[in-house]
Symmetry: C2
DNA sequence: GGACCTTACGCTTTACGTAACGATA
DNA sequence: TATCGTTACGTAAAGCGTAAGGTCC
């Protein structure tokens, strides 16, 4: 069975007239007759009771008609939506992320995605760094959000944000008291020293 | 888009190898390449990322694959079931009946249908005789169950059963008292005469 | 060099249109 | 006789296979 035959069948089923159906299909009647006969042969059933005066659907034809419509509709929708997927208007992104990214990075990114690419759904997968790298290599993920991953052949890395690392130590520890330890800034806070320095230093 | 192209696409999508897909389809590789390229052209999207080392589905191809499977499956099911309809194993019968037939004739017939033709569903329509005849002529019904209909051109009539007509009259009516009135049998019953005679008489 | 996808080309099959035929009212 | 579906046949298009070309290990 071929889609062409289903298209021809639908035209005849709707017109109940080979001449008009052929005109609608922009072909002449004879090939239409041939295609319908071949379709009848492949499904093993007469689809139309036809005399020179009238064309009527048989029970088999009546049962085929809605199925044929549905199939042709599915085909058209599939074709259209595959085009949209290719254009990036519709689709799915599988995103892995370390759980600590769920506080700011991921929620902000999701909000931006919803606004700028409403047709793209995001499949969220909380995974530790190593699992993400493995999943990315096996194409089970499209994107990963990690902290401090070692460069990995076959994967591209982009810095999303740089964070300051905070050390909190008892105020009487040696590092806290040694102002020459290379700390950027520090302050005393309820008995502890909180030191901040930037990642890039 | 044609079904052949979807079949070829599915083969390549499952094998991820043009050579093996072609072998599975019992054709040589070159026509397969051509068909895939044409399919890609009609849907407006590249379906495979292919190098001489590997063939991989693109996002568009990934979205097409399950749709193609569903379409091909629908086509096969449609073909098979249309065949069954033609053989009379599956289908629907639209049955009209006068309400008085709902006591015995219709229930017995339905029980027999369920047992002997489990694939046939019966659409029941309670209608008076005139409505049934009209609906039958317009092919809105397949069968009608009526009482005592006048023969109608274009319709076949079959006697399902012959019923005895019962007259119940006060016992002092003249017909009740006249034993030569042609009644088959009669009996007195709480002040009435109940007379029975057969339709064929 | 080998594996694999693609392009080129000749041949077979399929599809289409015109014309002739058959059936029905 | 007019309408409409079918069959016959010549031509155009599509599909396939073999052979040659390109690219990546």
């Amino acid at each position: 069975m071929e889609l062409r035959q289903l298209r021809y069948f639908v035209a005849v089923a709707e017109e109940l007239h080979f001449g008009r159906a052929a005109a609608r299909l922009h072909i002449s009647q004879p090939p239409l007759t041939v295609h319908i006969k071949r379709l009848e042969q492949t499904v093993g059933a007469t689809l139309f009771d036809r005399t020179s005066r009238s064309v009527q659907l048989t029970a088999a034809g009546t049962s085929l008609y809605p199925r044929a419509l549905a199939i042709l509709d599915d085909v058209n929708r599939a074709s259209a939506e595959v085009g949209l997927v290719a254009e990036g208007q519709v689709g799915q992104v599988r995103l892995g992320f370390v759980s600590s990214a769920s506080y700011e990075v991921v929620p902000l990114a999701l909000r931006e995605m919803r606004e700028e690419h409403p047709g793209i759904s995001v499949d969220l997968e909380p995974l530790v760094t190593g699992e993400q790298l493995e999943a990315l290599m096996q194409h089970r993920l499209d994107l990963g959000v990690v902290r401090d991953a070692p460069l990995h052949p076959g994967l591209d890395f982009v810095t999303l944000r740089e964070e300051r690392i905070v050390a909190v130590v008892p105020a009487d520890w040696r590092i806290a008291l040694d102002e020459s330890a290379g700390l950027g800034t520090w302050k005393r806070c309820s008995g502890y020293v909180v030191a901040l320095w930037s990642a890039e230093e």
